[in-house]
């Protein structure tokens, strides 16, 4: 196997661990070692793992907030436009913009838009749907949804080097190490 040929077809190198604690420690050391392009794979969310990986973001909450705001404005604006501008209708002598009556629908629109923001935002930032992903080429990876904990250092990391990265992962004492084909 020619070395260069392999490198060009590699997505990364993956190490398998059997406990969340081992994975958190491995993620911390990978970060300290200077790797930035790596990800962990776990059957359930593990608290403290993203901190150990040094990942921090609040894109989803901001998206939800902005969507909620748009929803509320849309809901209120819709009622004002239809009841006061497009077809002003005198109902029992009330103001055309009888705002207390518009609150329930404003609220419902806010929740509806914010919920879509949360759902679609989560999928979009995660790059889903993803019909194909290289990590699934590793046969053991089916257990990422059952009981195993994986860490994959990706080839696009500037520090990635097939030999040295493998040796480093070896020092983390994993159950197994596999090369991930792209």
């Amino acid at each position: 196997m020619a070395h260069a040929a392999v490198v060009s077809r590699v997505y990364g190198i993956m190490a398998e661990f059997d406990s969340p604690e081992a994975l958190i420690e491995a993620a911390r050391r990978t970060r300290v070692e200077g790797y930035r392009r790596f990800d962990c794979y776990t059957p359930f969310p593990i608290h403290g793992l993203t901190d150990a990986m040094g990942v921090r973001e609040a894109k989803v909450p901001w998206t939800v907030f902005i969507c909620g705001l748009i929803g509320a404005l849309f809901g209120f604006g819709l009622q004002v436009y239809t009841s006061a501008i497009d077809y002003p209708l005198n109902v029992g002598g009330r103001d055309f913009i009888s705002w207390p009556y518009f609150i329930p629908i404003t609220f419902e629109c806010m929740v509806l838009f914010a919920a879509f923001g949360a759902f679609i935002g989560m999928l979009a930032y995660n790059g889903l749907p993803a019909p194909y992903h290289p990590v699934f080429n590793v046969p053991q990876f089916v257990r990422a949804s059952v009981d195993r904990f994986f860490l994959c250092i990706e080839a696009r990391d500037p520090k990635f080097d097939p030999e040295r990265t493998r040796t480093f992962l070896q020092s983390l004492n994993p159950i197994s190490i596999s090369e991930v084909e792209a």
Binding site: S19, E21, Y41, F44, P45, V60, L78, S145, Q170, E181
Partner: protein, 477 residues
């Protein structure tokens, strides 16, 4: 926080029956869609299917002939359609309470019943939506309820609580589906990884959107999940409040009461928990392995919530009676007298029996731990809550201000057929759900097990597989 949960829960009765491993949790729940289903499943699905057929038949006849086939007329124009609408919506509320409010309150016992209860919510809201839709008499123009630009230059009346209902219920349904489906994505990915047949792999693969359990994905997922819970909490309170405003904003005696919104919400949660128990107890018999995750502790907690909300509801009944007599308004006073001693007196006193007396037995731990008794009590509560809506809708309308406009209301065969039909549809959908979808939230259960008992070294795992293979290359090759 992890320590706090552990400390609190370990002293309580167990949330899991028997020793679990991540592998065991995944296999027990994730394999149900691939296993041969029990005979009881076929029987119940069959019954549900027959009911659904009845529903379709009843609706076809309704559309062909008109709402005249129902018992509704002046003065009681609402009848079964609105009774059943409110009843079904209320049942749905327990699902959202369990999935959202108990999540925010960090109640660990919600984990094993949330998926189930959310499915119940969705199907209950589907049943609920049918009633006002067909009660309009012309369901094919139901889109008039939405603010769509049209050549009549006509807009919905946004100052009406009935229009608020359209927005509240459709938002509630949409958000419930999103919440439920988002919780399912990681579990469908686990099913995909277990599936043996190509077809099952493809279907679960598509439905799980290529989820790969990435830690960064989990972070965004958890954040979105928590926010959805935070959004659903005020939403669920708003939905039944808006439903209650359908009544309370009018000036009909017995409806024009300020206590309605909180009293309706409590009643909704009360009836919803009764329905969860009505479903969970037979499902534990049909699928014995569920007993490892839905333990007697869960059942006990649900019974306690039922008792607590039942007391609030009963307080509501007492306040209604008090308002009626204290108001010194002749129509309000007559309404209460008529409710208790008028032509519908058996309904009112059955309601007090079902919702006021029977739940008091839940004070006794012996009753809460007797599944047969609890099942019967939950059925009685379901009936009681239905009677409550009957009392509210019918007794207020049938004798209001002018005796010359008084009348009586009674359901017809088609009223019953539609109602029983939705019950069948609900049962059918629940059993289809049990057949094809992981019934419990596997990832959340694994997370809970980990937080309660820790990874626990060997007890959780499998003997370490044959050592690291340092020279191994090319994963899939």
């Amino acid at each position: 926080m992890q320590e706090a949960i552990r400390a609190r829960v370990v002293q309580e009765p167990p949330l899991f029956e028997g020793e679990q491993t991540y592998e065991r949790i995944t296999a027990q729940i994730g394999d149900i869609p691939f296993e041969k289903h029990p005979i009881g499943w076929t029987v119940m699905f069959g019954l549900g299917f027959v009911g659904t057929t009845l529903l379709i038949f009843a609706l076809v006849v309704l559309v062909a002939i008109g709402t005249g086939i129902w018992g509704i007329n002046q003065p009681v124009a609402w009848g079964f359609a609105i009774i059943n609408f409110v009843w079904w919506i209320g049942i749905g509320h327990a699902g959202t309470l369990i999935s959202a409010i108990l999540l925010l309150m960090r109640q660990a016992w919600r984990m094993s019943i949330n998926r189930f209860a959310e499915a119940m919510t969705i199907f209950a809201v589907m049943c609920a939506g049918l009633f006002p839709l067909f009660h309009t008499g012309r369901p094919w123009v139901a889109y008039w309820l939405f603010p769509l630009p049209n050549w009549l230059a006509m807009w919905p009346q946004f100052r009406s609580p009935l229009e608020w209902d359209v927005f509240a219920v459709s938002t509630y349904f949409t958000v419930s589906v999103l919440f439920w489906y988002m919780g399912l994505i990681p579990d469908l990915a686990a099913v995909r990884d277990r599936a043996k047949s190509h077809l099952a792999k493809v279907i679960s693969g598509i439905l799980s959107w290529g989820w790969r359990n990435s830690a960064i994905h989990w972070m965004r997922y958890e954040s979105a999940y928590l926010l959805l819970a935070g959004l659903s909490t005020p939403l669920v309170l708003s939905v039944h409040s808006v439903v209650s405003l359908d009544f309370a904003i009018s000036i009909v005696p017995g409806w024009h009461v300020t206590i309605f919104p909180p009293y309706f919400v409590a009643g909704a949660i009360y009836s919803g928990f009764a329905m969860v128990l009505t479903l969970v107890i037979p499902f534990r018999i049909l699928y014995p392995k569920l007993r490892e995750y839905i333990t007697m502790h869960h059942i006990d907690m649900m019974a306690k919530v039922m008792l607590a909300t039942g007391l609030i509801v009963f307080y509501g009944y007492m306040m209604e009676a008090f308002f009626g007599f204290y108001s010194a308004a002749i129509f309000e006073k007559y309404l209460m007298t008529n409710r208790m001693f008028g032509p519908y007196w058996p309904v009112y006193w059955s309601l007090i029996f079902c919702n006021g007396l029977v739940p008091q037995s839940l004070w006794f731990p012996k009753v809460r731990h007797n599944l047969w008794l609890l099942f019967i009590i939950s059925l009685i509560v379901n009936v009681g809550m239905w009677l409550e809506r009957f009392v509210i809708v019918v007794t207020s309308l049938h004798r209001d201000f002018t005796p010359s406009a008084w009348g009586m209301y009674g359901p017809t065969f088609w009223d019953w057929a539609t109602y029983i039909g939705t019950l069948g549809f609900f049962v059918m959908m629940m059993f289809l759900f049990a057949r094809f979808v992981p019934m419990l939230a596997m990832a959340e259960l694994k997370d809970l097990w980990y937080r309660l008992y820790g990874h626990g070294g060997e007890h959780n795992g499998h003997p370490k597989t044959e050592a690291p293979a340092p020279t191994r290359t090319g994963g899939g090759a």
